[in-house]
Each structure stands twice: as structure tokens, then as C-alpha cells.
Amino acid sequence: MAASVLTDRAGFPMIHVEGLDGYLHWLPVTKIQFEAFLCEHPSATFDQQWYDEILSLNPRISPRAVQATNYWQSFITGITPGEAERYADWCGADYALLHQKEWIDTYHRLREMPPRSVADLTALNLAPRIRSLIERLDAVFRAQSPNGSLADQMFLRLGVKEWVVCGGPKQSPWGAWGQPNRAFFGSIRDDLEATSPVFPPEVETRRLHAFGFRLIRRATWRSEN
């Protein structure tokens, strides 16, 4: 029987979600995760200047400093979809961005589910700072959404704008779903009630401070296990 939780290459938890054919990152990809990629795959593309630009849009904080007023600084944002896919490739061949329909269907499903204990996540052999981050973000969730759902707990809402794969007729190859905290990204409409993701222009060249991502690990791996 497949496990209900596992960790990705950077040591962060992913959970099995009913109806989704694979494992989904518990949180939007964090700066700690992306730094694991940077350190294992140093390159002229992702150099100090690159990361300085990323952090200028959304500064880094340590897990111990996470609060309700700054928690989004844990997540990596300002990332282009192509860079997100580079990260996915590093994680493994079975990792990918979600398709736009997968994301919104998952959000609607998780919105109907109650939050869960993070004990089984923190029981994984996580590095201490990862465990600390998960616990502090969970505390933020419980404080800011006391009647929240599993979708809120996983920061599908009040997290970041998450890149998704689109590419339908007359569509950009990438869009984004999500409703970040208004203190991080003010938006007049509730994007999660919309019928389609947002399609920012020039996604490959512009850095958008509230746009990040999470990955799915597809079931083609699980069937071999």
C-alpha cells in the first residue's frame, strides 16, 4: 500500500490527495527548497545576482521568524514558469506543475475537507528547520483561519499565485491560480471564484512578486514502487 506522505528531493513533505493521481506538495515551494536546488546545481543562470533579484521582490525570512504578518516570505516567488519547471526537472522526471484544471479541482475538493494534524508530516525524518517551518506555518493557518479547510491549511488560499500549465486553444502555456494574502498581493476580485486562472503577459521575462508554484509527483512513479 502506498504511503500517504513522503518527502521530495529537498526533504519537504508531499501528501497523497484523493482524486489527484499523485502526491502534492504540502506547501507552495519554499525558499529553503529552492536553495537546495541552487546548491546542488550551481550555474551562471541561478547565480547570486539572480537570487538577489528574487529576494528583492519577496525577502527571505528564517522559519523561526514566521508570523501571520510575513509568512509568505517563506515561499519562493518572482519565479518564471520556466524556472519552476527547471526545479521540477531537478526533483525528478515524475515531478511537474499541475494542469490548470487539476489545480482548481483539487482546490475545490480540499476546500470541503477539514484540516488535519501535521503530526504525520513532522514525524517524517525532516531536518529541524523544515519541521520548524511546517509547524509555524500551521500555527499561522490556525490563527488566521480558525474555521479554515484543508485547502487553507495547505495555503492553496492565502499562499501565493501558483503557476499552472495551460496551453489550450488561444491560451498562454502558463497561467496562475491562487488568492494570496491581501497584505502580500492586493486583488479586488476573489480569483478562486473565477472560471479561469490569470494569464499575466510576458511570463517568461517579467518577474511577478507574488507568483510561485507547487509540484505534483505523478503516479507513474508510484506504480513502480
Binding site: 528531493r9 536553495e35 541552487l38 550551481p42 547565480d47 523561526r64 503530526a119 513532522t122 514525524a123 528547520r129
Partner: protein
């Protein structure tokens, strides 16, 4: 007090013993719950190839520890659930009939053993898994068949040198470690900070053991605890630290011996490179060869040093890293990656620190922002800036270092993730030396590089054991 851990899935148990484990829903006994609240349980796994003596060893160990009170006054072993009690009862029956235990072919529930009143040791539970030997000939099965291995902090590799030398299946010391490392990789789990105890079994038939190891085996104070007709006087002066210190000497002797075994040197080098704490024991579970054709021992056995892996594991849990020979202490040099590193590269300070560090024993060198080392112990190198001008990150380096490692960082600018470690044990083990007066981080062990600082005094300050 620690949070009690479930012995089956190693998740955190509920607030009371009556609640089943929130993660796997299995019930635990009040006895296990209570002892686990006093001290975190030790989780051990016996791994090794088929026919290398794992199950026989486990039987001998359990029987020996059951007779503890004969050698250590007041000490006793408690079986913490019915499954363990039944498993031990079967061991007793087989032993009393002069039979060897049946080999393990599937993963059985772990033995849950409670150790009480051991001298200088906190009462503690031991969760012990005996793994089927066949798993370790099929690398890909292990992660799926043995989930608890993911969380085992001390793995016992049981190796019969005699069987290994006659092996025709390609099994080797190196293969055993690689299989274990592959399982850790499958779990996406780092193997660093773990201890691997290589237990050489059937040492009664190993002809070329070093003399000091042979004498050590023969001097075992516990060798007759299971012979109830043999009088035995408890030793009131037994000292666990002294016992472990002796084990460490024998471990060092066995380490040198292992270098002469096929793939033994590879095992040692691979373990060091991966940040594993590798130690060695020698045991004889039966005292002499059984009659393998009829799966019988000839008569009740005198056993030699079967308790050593367990006592070592308990001592590690109690005292942390045991007294390590200075040569085995781990030091880590981490350098600013950029060409604008100031004196790091202009005055070759990095290279001089590396040369000095090699006298300290086990050393690695890294650039900030790179998780792969740029130099290893004993290799002469001239350290220069990194190929790419990367972000100054330290976390991926620290996460792979063993828990006893100390690190010296030489930086010319802000380390972006240093604050992540303020509340960690790195606070005492990591010294940050800045070559840039504009960068003075909020870090407990920080200094600005001064003109009169030498490589020797920088390492001396880090190695100061008074901290």
C-alpha cells in the same frame, strides 16, 4: 520529557496510553508508553545478508540481556508487549531444546524491550527490528518492505566474515552499505547523522582476528549470564563509559582489520564521505559452530560480547557522541565562493586553513552555496574561488554534516540562511569569520578577521572544548 514515539511507525503518540497511534492507529501498551515518556526509545535494525547470523544473534542478545541482573545488580529487562513476550518465549523454547532459531523470511513486529536500572543509563525502551536477509540481496525492495529503516538512527550491519569470504553471490561489505544508502535515497532521507555499527558475527571461527580482539572476546564479563548453573557475582563497579571506551578501542582495531578485507576500505571511505558514524564490534552468539545440517547447537552456549551493539547504542542515546579518537573528529571548512573574497584568496588564507585542518583528522571543504565538497581529508589542494558566483548559502552544507561536526566559515558577505540555525546545535559548533567589517551577523560564535589571526589560532578557537 520527550514525546512518546510509536514503535511501529515512529509517529508521535497521543496524550495518553489509551489512545491508539494517531498515524498508524495501532495500540501501544501502557508499559511501553510510560517508559517512552521517560526517555526517547532507541530504534535499532538488524540488517545483513542471508545466513549471516542475524536471527541467531538476536536470540542470543535477548537471552543474554534477560540474564542481566545476574551480572549487574538491580538491572532487568522488561518485555513491553505480548508479541515480544511470545517471541522471546519461542526463543527460550528453541534454545532449551538445543535448536537454532529459524531464519527470518518476512518482517516480523519489532521486539519492544524495556531496560531498567542499567548503571549510569536512563530506563529506556529499545525497539528492535530483525530484517529478512533476502531483502539485502534485492536493493529495490528494501524501502518498500522496511519503512521503519527510514527512521532508525543506529543500524546494525551483521556480517559473517567467514560466509562473506566464501560468498559466490557478489555480496560484499560495500554492497551492504550501498543497499542501505539506496534505501535512504528511496525514502528521500539523508543518511547523515546516523550510526552504522558493523557487527562481525561468528567470530569463534574467524582465524585471523587481531589478537586484542580475541582477548577482548574472551574477557567478556557477561559470557555466562545465560548459564544459570554457573555461579556469577554481580559487579558493583561496572561503568558503562569505561565499557564503551574499551569498545571504541576494539572498534578502531577492527577498523584497521577491515581495511584488509575485500571492499572493506571502500566501506570505510564511503561511510566517511556520506557523513555516517561507522563503528565495529565482534561477537560470537553461540561460542562455537552449530551443527548446520540439523540446525542445532551441540549444547548450551557461552556467548561472547553479544551485548556490545546494544550497550553502545544505549550509550549513544544517553551521552551523545561517545569519546571519539581525535583523528575521527569531523571538521568542516566553508569558504566564500566569490572572487571578491578578500584575504580568503588574495592571501591564500583558505588554502592555509585547509592545510592546517588536515592535521585535525577528518575534514571537508566547501564553498558557500555549493552542497558538494571541494576537498576531502588528506588531499593536497590549492583552494580558489568557485566557478560560479553563487548566493552565499550554508544550510545545504550543514544539513549533510554529522552531528559532531564543527565548522569554520570564512565569508566576505552576508550568509543568507545563517539565521535558520540560531536555535540549533550549530550555534556552538559553527564559527563565522567575516573578512568584511560591513558584515557582522547576529551569531553566537562570530569574529571579524584580524591582521594577526593565523590559521592555527582560528582552528584552535573552534576546537576549544570548553564551549
Amino acid at each position: 520529557m520527550p514525546e512518546p514515539k510509536c514503535p511501529f511507525c515512529l509517529g508521535t503518540l497521543g496524550a495518553t496510553a489509551e489512545e491508539p497511534c494517531p498515524t498508524c492507529r495501532k495500540a501501544v501498551t501502557p508499559e511501553y508508553y510510560e517508559i517512552s515518556r521517560r526517555a526517547a526509545p532507541v530504534v535499532g535494525a538488524l540488517v545483513g545478508f542471508p545466513q549471516h547470523g542475524k536471527t541467531t544473534f538476536q536470540t542470543a542478545l535477548t537471552l543474554t540481556m534477560d540474564g542481566l541482573g545476574r551480572a549487574l545488580e538491580g538491572a532487568y529487562l522488561e518485555y513491553l508487549d505480548a508479541s515480544t513476550q511470545e517471541a522471546v518465549r519461542r526463543m527460550w523454547v528453541q534454545s532449551a531444546r538445543g535448536h537454532q532459531p529459524d531464519a527470518t523470511h518476512e518482517l516480523a513486529p519489532p521486539l519492544l524491550l524495556g531496560f531498567h536500572q542499567l548503571p549510569q543509563l536512563t530506563d529506556r525502551a529499545v525497539v528492535l527490528y530483525d530484517t529478512p536477509g533476502e531483502l539485502f540481496t534485492r536493493r529495490e525492495d528494501i524501502a518498500a518492505a522496511l519503512p521503519p529503516l527510514r527512521d532508525v538512527q543506529t543500524v546494525w550491519f551483521l556480517v559473517s566474515l567467514t560466509d562473506l569470504r566464501q560468498d559466490r553471490e557478489g555480496n560484499s561489505l560495500q554492497a551492504l552499505l550501498q543497499t542501505y544508502m539506496a534505501a535512504m535515497s528511496r525514502f528521500s532521507t539523508a543518511a547523515q547523522r546516523r550510526t552504522v555499527l558493523v557487527v562481525y558475527t561468528k567470530c569463534d571461527i574467524v582465524a585471523d582476528l587481531p589478537a586484542d580482539v580475541r582477548h577482548y572476546l574472551a574477557d567478556d564479563p557477561f559470557q555466562t549470564v545465560t548459564l544459570h548453573d554457573t555461579p556469577l557475582t554481580p559487579d558493583p563497579l561496572f561503568d558503562i563509559r569505561a565499557y564503551v571506551a574499551e569498545m571504541e578501542k576494539i572498534s578502531n582495531s577492527l577498523r584497521e582489520y577491515t581495511k584488509r578485507i575485500p571492499t572493506g576500505l571502500t566501506l570505510i571511505n564511503m561511510a566517511r564521505d556520506r557523513g555516517l558514524d561507522l563503528q565495529f564490534c565482534a561477537v560470537s552468539a553461540l561460542g562455537e559452530s552449530p551443527n548446520y545440517q540439523h540446525n542445532e547447537r551441540v549444547h548450551e552456549s557461552v556467548r561472547f560480547r553479544v551485548q556490545d551493539p546494544l550497550l553502545w547504542t544505549l550509550a549513544l542515546a544517553e551521552f551523545g557522541a561517545t569519546s571519539q579518537p581525535r583523528a575521527e573528529r569531523r571538521h568542516c571548512l566553508i569558504l566564500d565562493p566569490s572572487r571578491e573574497g578578500g584575504p580568503v584568496y588574495e592571501e591564500q588564507l583558505g588554502t592555509k586553513l585547509w592545510e592546517c585542518a588536515n592535521r585535525l583528522g577528518n575534514v571537508g571543504a566547501f564553498h558557500l552555496g555549493y552542497s558538494r565538497p571541494i576537498a576531502r581529508t588528506g588531499r593536497p589542494v590549492s583552494l580558489g574561488p568557485a566557478r560560479e558566483n553563487v548566493a552565499r548559502l550554508i544550510g545545504q552544507i550543514l544539513e549533510q554534516e554529522p552531528s559532531h561536526s564543527r565548522a569554520l566559515v570564512l565569508t566576505n558577505g552576508p550568509i543568507l540562511d545563517l539565521e535558520d540555525y540560531i536555535g540549533s546545535t550549530w550555534r556552538e559548533r559553527l564559527m563565522v569569520v567575516s573578512t568584511n567589517p560591513s558584515y557582522q551577523p547576529r551569531w553566537h560564535r562570530f569574529m571579524l578577521l584580524r591582521e594577526d589571526d593565523t590559521p592555527e589560532n582560528l582552528w584552535d578557537q573552534l576546537a576549544n572544548d570548553d564551549l
